[in-house]
Symmetry: C2
């Protein structure tokens, strides 16, 4: 059993290859969560709101999705209090059986990269020479701008601690091609060079379902490229951003999957948390009203993706 197997088992059980981004944007969280306990430090008050909001979301979606993807920016912006909110969120999600995909897009080299990898995925050194887990995410997103030697320490950590990675290869945003479509020394695009690298490393962490914990971020907004990246990295799991709010539809994400209906998880954050109710509605709704609408949005996304996969891939395994 590898970490990717837990992601796949959860996907099979929920019949849902979509994950929900836990992006607690204070300006968009429903007002009913913000009348929270005053707790001394103002940043702690924000962190408390985030934890309450997230725990309610996790309770609402835990039986419906395989994983959550907390976006670290929305936590660490509140400093140490925000990091504590992340830790509580991740621990609560795990206690409910969810896989935690930490979207932090970290990158560095040498012992600095090792510090990130150990801190987010593994164990860290204590003053007395012992080692303990710290942030302990299941998967981490990493950025490859510093080249292959910046990825190796993260891959080493995945092997050592049985964790997973999603390496940014082709992102969903408009300006993504500026660097990702540049032509590398190999005469192919940066995305393809990175895909070959990831494919080479993926073999080291293949689980019982035949997929690897060394995965890739491939945006829903590039369906034409997703197919070729899929064929370069047949065993890597894809984390697919850009669905919904960023313009990708159910048809667009099909090339990210293999014909067994596995190989990818599609993320939605704003599309689930903030766009199914208007800004005005979120100032007035009750928690129950808000959470019901989240649950509906999650179910709708599952139906869209699941039925599109069923129609396309007749040898789907779920």
């Amino acid at each position: 059993m590898k970490t990717v197997d837990r992601l796949i088992d959860n996907t099979l059980q929920t019949k849902n290859p979509s994950v929900i981004g836990l992006d607690p944007d204070m300006e968009k969280i429903p007002a009913c969560y913000k009348a929270c306990v005053n707790s001394g430090h103002p940043l702690k008050a924000a962190a408390n709101v985030i934890v309450e909001f997230n725990c309610d979301l996790i309770d609402t979606i835990a039986a419906l999705v395989p994983a959550v993807k907390p976006q670290m920016a929305f936590y660490e912006q509140y400093g140490s209090y925000g990091m504590a909110a992340f830790e509580k969120t991740a621990a609560y999600a795990k206690s409910k059986g969810l896989v935690v995909i930490e979207d932090a897009k970290r990158n560095d080299i040498g012992n600095t990269a090792r510090a990130y990898a150990d801190g987010h995925l593994g164990c860290v050194a204590l003053p007395d020479g012992t080692y303990v887990p710290s942030l302990d995410a299941d998967f981490l997103t990493v950025t490859p701008f510093l080249g292959s030697e910046s990825l190796q320490p993260f891959i080493d950590a995945c092997v050592r601690y049985d964790k997973g990675l999603f390496v940014l290869i082709r992102t969903s945003n408009e300006s993504s091609g500026e660097i990702q479509n540049a032509v590398s020394e190999d005469g192919v695009t940066i995305s393809h060079t990175l895909a070959r690298y990831v494919a080479g490393k993926a073999d080291t962490l293949v689980g019982v379902h035949g997929y690897s914990s060394i995965g890739a971020v491939v945006g829903a907004t590039h369906p034409e490229e997703a197919g070729s990246l899929r064929s370069i990295m047949p065993k890597s799991y894809f984390l697919v951003p850009g669905y919904g709010a960023q313009g990708g539809g159910a048809k667009d994400i099909l090339p990210c999957f293999n014909t067994d209906g596995l190989g990818a998880v599609v993320n939605s954050s704003r599309g689930i948390l903030y766009t199914h109710m208007s800004d005005h509605e979120r100032t007035k709704c009750s928690r129950q009203e808000y959470l019901s609408s989240v649950q509906e949005a999650v179910k709708r996304m599952q139906e869209e993706i699941y039925s599109a996969l069923k129609e396309q891939y007749h040898d789907m395994v779920y």
Copy 2:
């Protein structure tokens, strides 16, 4: 006065364009710091060691260098306790007049990038609708893998809060060329495309000394490229890693400077903190012995760089 002016004023005052990386690597911190207070949570014990170590370092070097560069990986690996150690370190460094260059290599898009930028450089939203500062670094390093739209929110934050950036353009590590030397749509390398972008944005934040707070990371290990990047970005400050431990010498960093002896700060982390005493010596030394050796190493680096600059640039302004 812009943030970059404080960096320059400190450089003029100390006659030192070098900065010290505060990279508290638990396995390398002298043993005399690790016999610290036991404080309940094991990660908190690590955080306490980091704060004590850093405060001693800051006291030792505050009058000798213009700025410190804490590497976020070594803090956040200890989760919320580590972030608190970062906050205390940054606040203490500022209280001693040092500029804080936070090396966190962040990157994302849209409101996520804005959350990073606001959290690290500006103000964050509270539940009651007000805004307060959070991590409040002076400069932040950012990675450009997602393209120009991922840099704009950080530039916006610098304008809004009078802060600074160092955009990764040509890093010091061996595999840096894999992506940074790829050929972009413009027919030049990614590094040059990024340099043009940064140069275009630099004009918005030029201070009284004629330099911009929108800077670039250019490694000491690429002296041949540093000159051309310098001429593309005449107003941008360069943060120069790779000195010492990574192989760059005083001659190598000269092309990163303008002829006034300004335009760059050279970083050393391991070269100052961990390599002037052997691993064995660090298990036995007193704090005073360790700090004296740090002070010597800082002075030696200042002399190397300052005399190399003086020899090369006869119109140096300090």
